[in-house]
């Protein structure tokens, strides 16, 4: 085997390798030290790149992390955060033992507690809630999971619809935009083979999946691909673009539809692909009338419809909306057309996460993929389910039979997914209460909008009975927990993940490296606590233990899901969980392991990754197999193919939509295209849905085809003369990752302030220079921040990175001192809150001499506190962009000041809630059953 690193084995310079050869990973001498090398997976961003830990044989401590040369996504390379994992495991600030609150919530008084005490208390409460049918009272709220399927399986085993996520402050808009087209809610752009790459994102510096995508985008660029980037701010990514389109926030769909218009008008699109794969017949039949069309029936009629529908999106109109010159838009359209089906495009947050109607950005972007025939094509954009592999575990609990309205309220039947950021408002309104609330590597007080409302609710023991924070580090949210339960970092935990980084599928195995090393050396291993620092554990073993304590005798039917597949009736060991998967659910892995004389588990312990053979391209064109056609029926009106043949269980349980069955209950397996039954797409029509019957039927007929929606921050909503701007508060920095990297000194040394980016012309108008303090006022309050006057900002908009502004209220505990300011929070009654910075980042004495060498003072400003919730009525996404007023700071204002009125934030919540079009939809349903949904409950639970 040849390592995947491009410079390994003398490929850069004869005689030089990038990594020690895998045969010598058991004993490697370097710089006078002997190491054992153990591969694992990074736990910083969602890309889950490979890491290789160098464990000093003498001290048994990790000395450094390099990349894993066998990882198919990251190919031995990392961003700044990979090596900085070392900082995180050695952080003198980290929590080493479980803690229990000793005073009132948020008072900051803690006592050490045993895992047993915490487990018994939590298990007892969960057991009572389940037995008393209060299923909604137990909730698991996860940030970026970094794993596939494990915890959902736990919740399903408990029989609760208790999954909550961060998705709706992140990717809900993009997911909705993609899902209404193709069912699957994520794009998997094949950047490496693209001739034109259009990014409404900054994937050369951040995002899903930064390092793997950046590698491939730059590869394509070197091969001559055209790079187009839409971003109102000059990102590092925009700097690499052949065409940077600094669009006015919210105008992206108009620009995309103008490009579409050019492709359509000039017949530059792939008409054959559109004819075969777009549900144009359904549009003509059911949708056209509602959009001013006629009763035509042929594809030529549809082509005329396209021309008619998009004729108004001229480059000139797009210029007026976006500020991007019409000529640039024409040039971009030509580059897109020239690429043909080798056109990869991607958006994940950005405009889709910023604007009211942001999901339409993704829908309009994917429209370009459809028009160019690049969907599923080499160099195009592939549905993520084709490049992601989630292997099935040994036991799969049934779907929960209850529906949690705290996460899936009826106002948002089409949301992608849980309305997580509305939780405190729901609890305030009396929609329910939580008995046990887990936050898991999640920091809603800081990360979500409206953090003071979160604090109000988290403090209220009537609304939240027990709050257990599973976290490797202190966070603003953990400060308001009853239990702080320390869990491991990238080299201290097990997880299995697969992400759609390129046109291929892989599995990445995160493992506690000390445990893997002990196994390798034949030393006895108890659980992961035995090898981690202090009593730091891993969630996966915690859940097994907790589940056994919820159902100690197995009478509740929970325990059986946590029993060993190898030792019947006995408690599942975590290595057995993965061993079974590797032996049974990963095609090719047992054979690859055998070829090296290893068991599948030994193979994964060594390589921590596997390249799963899995075709990535044009799966929609696959014929429906003969065995499925045996009991098939074709709906003559729609061409949809249904079968009565039961589905063959796939080892890959990647979530896919479930298109509605026919009247006879037969499942949809394909679609007729030119007389042949093809696999098609998992949508109601089996095709790419230009016209979404779902949107039409669930109250949004006017949005059923790609169109534009006016953003809440569009220029028409702003009065520049009053100092009003659109604030883009979402951009990330290349070297940080939300609130997970506050414990990495090297990363915080590189980035530690988030000034307000403001265009030179705007700054001159306001009389502001770089370094001056400005007050940024939102609907519910204001924050005070320094100005970064720059040419790299669209005039009329301002931007502030959300990666900084960490704070703590106690000097020596709470958020890491590498990254946080000491603040005073004053609660002034009636929902009025005020935060003032007492001290910036400052040196302190610790076991790490570097803590006394901290040279920076800035910690940034916590802007999210001043944002009200903005739930998009369709996607459920929080529309992050803010209409703000920017003015020079007032007397008495200080850097980092935050002032908020949560009564106002609740009023804004009510305003946005009023825009929703609630369930029930057709059939009295809470949500279209076919749409993706984590922890999908039983059909009965869907009915209102």
């Amino acid at each position: 085997m040849t390592s995947l690193h491009p410079s390994d084995d003398g490929r850069m310079q004869k005689g030089f390798a990038a990594f020690p050869p895998v045969e010598r990973w058991n004993d490697w001498e370097e710089g006078g030290r002997r190491y054992s090398l153990v591969a694992t997976t990074c736990f910083n961003c969602e890309a889950a790149c490979g890491l290789l830990a160098y464990v000093d044989q003498e001290t048994r401590t990790v000395k450094k992390f390099e990349g894993n040369p066998w990882h198919p996504g990251s190919r031995g390379r990392n961003c700044a955060k990979g090596p900085a994992t070392l900082n995180q495991i050695l952080d003198p600030e980290r929590i080493l033992y479980p803690l229990r609150r000793a005073g009132a919530r948020g008072d900051g008084k803690w006592e050490r507690v045993s895992w047993d005490e915490a487990l018994d208390d939590l298990a007892g409460r969960i057991r009572r809630a389940i037995l008393e049918k209060r299923h909604h009272a137990v909730m698991y709220h996860v940030g970026r999971p970094g794993e596939d399927g494990y915890t959902e399986r736990v919740l399903a085993a408990w029989g609760i619809d208790g999954h909550n996520s961060h998705t709706n402050i992140c990717s809900a808009g993009a997911r909705a935009g993609y899902a209404f087209w193709m069912g699957m809610d994520r794009p998997s752009p094949d950047h490496a083979n693209a001739k034109c790459i259009l990014l409404i994102s900054s994937h050369l510096e951040s995002g899903h999946y930064f390092n793997p995508h950046a590698q491939r985008i730059i590869e394509a660029k070197q091969k001559g691909a055209t790079i187009i980037v839409m971003d109102p701010r000059l990102s590092n990514t925009a700097s690499h673009a052949d065409q940077w389109l600094p669009t006015i926030p919210g105008s992206e769909p108009a620009v995309l539809l103008a490009i579409a218009n050019i492709l359509i008008r000039e017949r530059l699109y792939d008409a054959e692909f559109v004819r075969r794969w777009v549900n144009w017949e359904e549009y003509l039949r059911d949708g056209a009338q509602g959009h001013g069309g006629t009763g035509a029936r042929t594809f030529q009629d549809f082509e005329r419809e396209l021309e008619r529908l998009y004729a108004k999106y001229t480059p000139e109109l797009a210029e007026a909306e976006s500020g991007v010159p019409a000529a640039t838009i024409v040039a971009v359209a030509q580059a897109v057309a020239a690429a043909g089906s080798a056109f990869s495009a991607h958006t994940w947050r950005a405009s889709a996460a910023g604007n009211l109607g942001g999901w339409m950005t993704a829908r309009c972007l994917f429209f370009l993929n459809v028009l160019t025939g690049s969907v599923g094509a080499e160099g195009g954009t592939v549905p993520n389910a084709w490049t992601k592999f989630v292997p099935a575990p040994h036991a799969r609990p049934p779907h929960p039979s209850n529906w949690n309205e705290l996460t899936w309220p009826r106002e948002y039947p089409l949301a992608f997914f849980e309305m997580s950021f509305l939780l405190p408002h729901f609890l305030k309104e009396g929609r329910g209460a939580l008995d046990v609330y887990f936050t898991r590597v999640y920091n809603p007080v800081w990360t979500n909008p409206d953090g003071f409302t979160w604090i109000e609710v988290l403090r209220d023991e009537k609304l939240i009975g027990r709050h257990a924070a599973l976290t490797p580090v202190w966070s603003e949210t953990a400060w308001f927990a009853d239990y702080v339960l320390p869990v491991g970092l990238g080299s201290e935990r097990h997880d299995l993940a697969s992400f759609e980084t390129h046109a291929g599928s892989w599995l990445g195995f995160r493992q506690p490296v000390q445990r893997a090393l002990k196994e390798r050396l034949g030393e006895p291993v108890g659980d992961t606590r035995d090898v981690n620092p202090g009593e730091v554990w891993e969630e996966n073993e915690f859940w097994i233990e907790l589940s056994w304590r919820i159902d100690p005798d197995g009478a509740m039917g929970i325990r059986k899901h946590f029993e060993s597949p190898y030792r019947p009736g006995e408690k599942l060991r975590i290595d057995e969980y993965y061993r079974w998967i590797f032996e049974h659910s990963v095609p090719g892995l047992p054979e690859a392991a055998k070829a090296q004389g290893l068991t599948p588990m030994e193979y994964m312990r060594r390589y921590a990754s596997f390249d799963v053979p899995n075709p990535a391209y044009r799966r929609h064109e696959q014929d429906v197999p003969a065995e499925e056609m045996a009991q098939a029926a074709v709906d003559q009106a729609t061409g949809r193919v249904y079968t009565a043949t039961p589905a063959v269980p796939s080892p890959n349980i990647v979530p896919v939509p479930v298109p509605p069955p026919d009247a006879a209950g037969r499942r949809a397996v394909g679609v007729m295209v030119d007389g042949t039954a093809r696999r098609g797409f998992p949508t109601p029509s089996g095709k790419l849905e230009f016209y979404s019957s779902t949107l039409a039927a669930w109250g949004w007929p006017e949005l059923a085809i790609p169109t534009t929606i006016e953003s809440h921050v569009s220029p028409r909503q702003l009065e520049p003369a009053r100092g009003e701007f659109a604030l883009v508060p979402t951009f990330r920095l290349p070297m940080l990752i939300h609130t997970r990297s506050g414990n990495a000194k090297w990363l915080n040394e590189l980035a530690h302030s988030n000034p307000l980016w403001i265009a030179t012309t705007d700054a001159q108008r306001l009389g502001v220079e770089t370094g001056d303090l400005v007050r940024v006022s939102t609907e519910i309050g204001y924050f005070v921040v320094r100005a970064w006057v720059t040419e790299g900002m669209r005039p009329g908009s301002v931007a502030c990175s959300h990666h900084l502004g960490r704070w703590r209220v106690a000097d020596d505990a709470g958020t890491d001192r590498w990254s946080s300011a000491l603040v005073r929070i004053d609660e002034q009654g009636g929902g009025k809150w005020r935060m003032r910075r007492l001290k910036g980042v400052a040196p302190w004495a610790s076991g790490d001499p570097d803590s006394s060498r901290v040279w920076w003072q800035s910690a940034g400003v916590h802007q999210n506190l001043t944002f009200a919730v903005h739930p998009d009525p369709v996607s459920g996404a929080h529309a992050w962009h803010q209409k703000v007023r920017v003015a020079p700071a007032e007397p008495g204002d200080e850097d980092g000041d935050v002032v908020v009125d949560t009564a106002k934030s609740h009023a804004v919540y009510k305003e946005w809630l009023a825009m929703a079009r609630p369930a029930p939809g057709p059939g009295g349903m809470r949500r279209p059953h076919w749409l993706l949904r984590p922890l999908r409950p039983t059909m009965d639970a869907y009915r209102l």
């Binding site: 491009p6 410079s7 850069m12 310079q13 004869k14 005689g15 030089f16 390798a17 990038a18 990594f19 370097e30 710089g31 450094k64 390099e66 990349g67 031995g76 390379r77 990392n78 961003c79 700044a80 955060k81 990979g82 090596p83 900085a84 510096e205 390092n211 950046a214 730059i218 660029k221 000059l234 590092n236 925009a238 700097s239 940077w244 920095l733 290349p734 070297m735 090297w746 040394e749 590189l750 530690h752 302030s753 988030n754 000034p755 030179t760 220079e769 770089t770 370094g771 320094r786 720059t790 040419e791 790299g792 669209r794 005039p795 001499p849 060498r853 901290v854 040279w855 920076w856 800035s858």
Partner: protein, 511 residues
């Protein structure tokens, strides 16, 4: 022949800083210092603006100034071209930091020795690529033998137009850039503001340029017109030398002048047997030479290793040569003083010329040392040797004027006052004349601007007006009773002058 080199492809670099942290990890680099980093420069006006990256680090120069200036061979060049360091030898003099025109060297706060990128020599020696090369997501960092046409480095050099940083420094750097923007490589092309786009800019000494080599001496934020290039991100860089070095120049001048003047008087037959010249002057010379030594050692980060400079000198280094000059001067000064105190005329006579020669060398060698500081163009001025030549007698005469009343009857003569006046005027004229003339490089011009118009102008003008012209006027026109005041002012002026030179020389960004 093997010549190890970097090729840094800025057409690929995404500015992610993976190289920065992998280097910190691989080489255990402390907070506050860097072996490699990524500078970001925004060039242009909206919407025709782009951010340009430059990965900056040691260039492994073929003519490495850090190797030349190192007094103890702690910095050395290997046959394969790799410029490495030996922390077990380094005395922490920081001269290499002044010699490097690329900001590549820092003092490690743990070992208190000079460190920098060494191609990860511990990896290279066992056939592993440097850590940054391995981590780079986009293969922007190429390492290899530039003389091997099969290597990626060799092929990149053959197939691309490449540039290097600061070619005018003539160090023959072996870090070659593909597609780097000039404004990112030229340290003076882009202005620094008081902050960066996501980091603090600590140490305002970084000031900044204005896009075409001119500088406004650190007051860039009030520029009326925004220049087209602006530093969006950079790391902090400390100023290696401060008051101890300024004071060393000052004490050394006095130590030299205090013996030089009486020795010359002796040679020319003037009376030197009085208390001032016969007793106080030799004591002054000895005292200030001792102080010079104390300051030199105190400025070392590893003062306990100071003696190694004498037992394993690197002879090309003017720091090493200077140490021997000072030692030799001390060797003649002690018997000279003894002879002077005890009235041994024959010995005085025999030692007069050696004292003159070694005092002059002591006063002047610093010009050669500063000349080896390739990173500080202001110090490379050919006028520096004249400055130092004037400093020694001026310092001595000023000290004599100050101490004359204490020495009793031997009041400084009017003619000596006139000499001092002339020397002070000459010194002021030289200084201002130098300021007015053109500078040999943009870096020198930027430093001179900081010295005369920017942040160090108060120091410099106080030195010229209050420390040279005012005492000159007092000496020329005032009563003799004011001579001590004039002497004190002149001495203070000399220190300020030295300090302004030391600080201003280090002011312009060099990376």
């Amino acid at each position: 022949m093997t010549r190890l080199a970097w090729v840094i492809d800025q057409t690929k670099c995404i500015g992610c800083h993976a190289c920065t942290t992998s280097c910190k990890s691989e080489n255990d680099v402390a907070l506050g210092v860097f072996r490699t980093w990524v500078k970001n420069v925004d060039v242009g006006t909206f919407p025709d603006v782009r951010r340009h990256f430059a990965v900056l680090r040691c260039n492994h120069c073929e003519d490495a100034p850090c190797v030349e200036i190192c007094p103890v061979t702690a910095m050395y060049q290997r046959p394969d071209g790799l410029v490495d360091f030996d922390e077990s030898l380094c005395i922490g003099c920081k001269a290499c930091m002044q010699a490097c025109p690329y900001d590549a060297i820092y003092m490690d706060p743990d070992s208190n020795t000079a460190e920098k990128c060494n191609f990860c020599s511990h990896r290279v020696d066992q056939g592993l690529l440097p850590a940054c090369v391995v981590v780079c997501p986009v293969e922007a960092l190429l390492f290899g033998d530039m003389d091997d046409p099969t290597s990626k480095v060799g092929q990149a050099l053959a197939g691309h137009r490449v540039t290097v940083r600061r070619p005018e420094q003539r160090t023959r750097p072996k870090a070659f850039y593909i597609g780097a923007h000039e404004a990112a490589l030229d340290p003076l092309a882009a202005r620094h503001d008081e902050m960066y786009m996501w980091a603090d800019n600590v140490g305002g000494q970084r000031g900044g340029g204005t896009g075409n080599g001119r500088t406004n001496g650190g007051h860039s934020r009030k520029l009326p017109v925004a220049p087209p290039a602006r530093v969006a991100y950079d790391i902090p860089k400390p100023r290696p030398w401060g008051w101890k070095v300024s004071s060393y120049i000052w004490t050394k001048s006095l130590a030299a002048g205090a013996a030089l003047v009486p020795a010359l008087m002796h040679i020319t037959g003037l009376e030197t047997s009085g208390r001032l010249f016969g007793r106080v002057a030799p004591a002054l010379a000895l005292l200030f030479l001792a102080l010079t030594g104390v300051l030199l050692v105190a400025d070392l980060k590893r003062p306990e290793r100071f003696w190694t400079i004498l037992v394993r000198p690197q002879w090309r280094s003017w720091l090493a040569r200077g140490a021997f000059v000072i030692t030799a001067y001390a060797a003649v000064l002690v018997p000279w003083a003894w002879a002077s105190w005890t009235g041994r005329e024959a010995l005085l006579h025999a030692l007069a010329w050696p004292v003159v020669v070694l005092a002059l060398l002591t006063a002047l060698y610093t010009a050669a040392l500063f000349g080896q500081c390739e990173g500080r163009d202001l110090w490379q001025s050919r006028w520096l040797v004249l400055h130092l030549a004037l400093h020694a007698p001026v310092a001595a005469l000023a000290a004599f004027a100050l101490l004359a009343p204490l020495a009793g009857g031997n009041v400084l003569t009017i003619s000596m006052g006139e000499a001092a006046t002339a020397l002070l005027l000459l010194s002021a004229l030289l200084a201002t004349g130098e300021a007015l003339q053109g500078h040999k490089s943009p870096n020198a011009a930027a430093a001179a601007s900081a010295q005369w118009r920017g942040r160090y102008a108060p120091l410099q003008w106080t030195a010229v007006l209050g420390g040279a012209l005012l005492p000159a006027a007092l000496l020329a026109a005032g009563p003799v009773s004011l001579y001590p005041l004039a002497g004190a002012l002149a001495l203070a002026g000399q220190w300020l002058q030295a300090h302004a030179l030391v600080l201003a020389g280090q002011n312009p960004p060099i990376s």
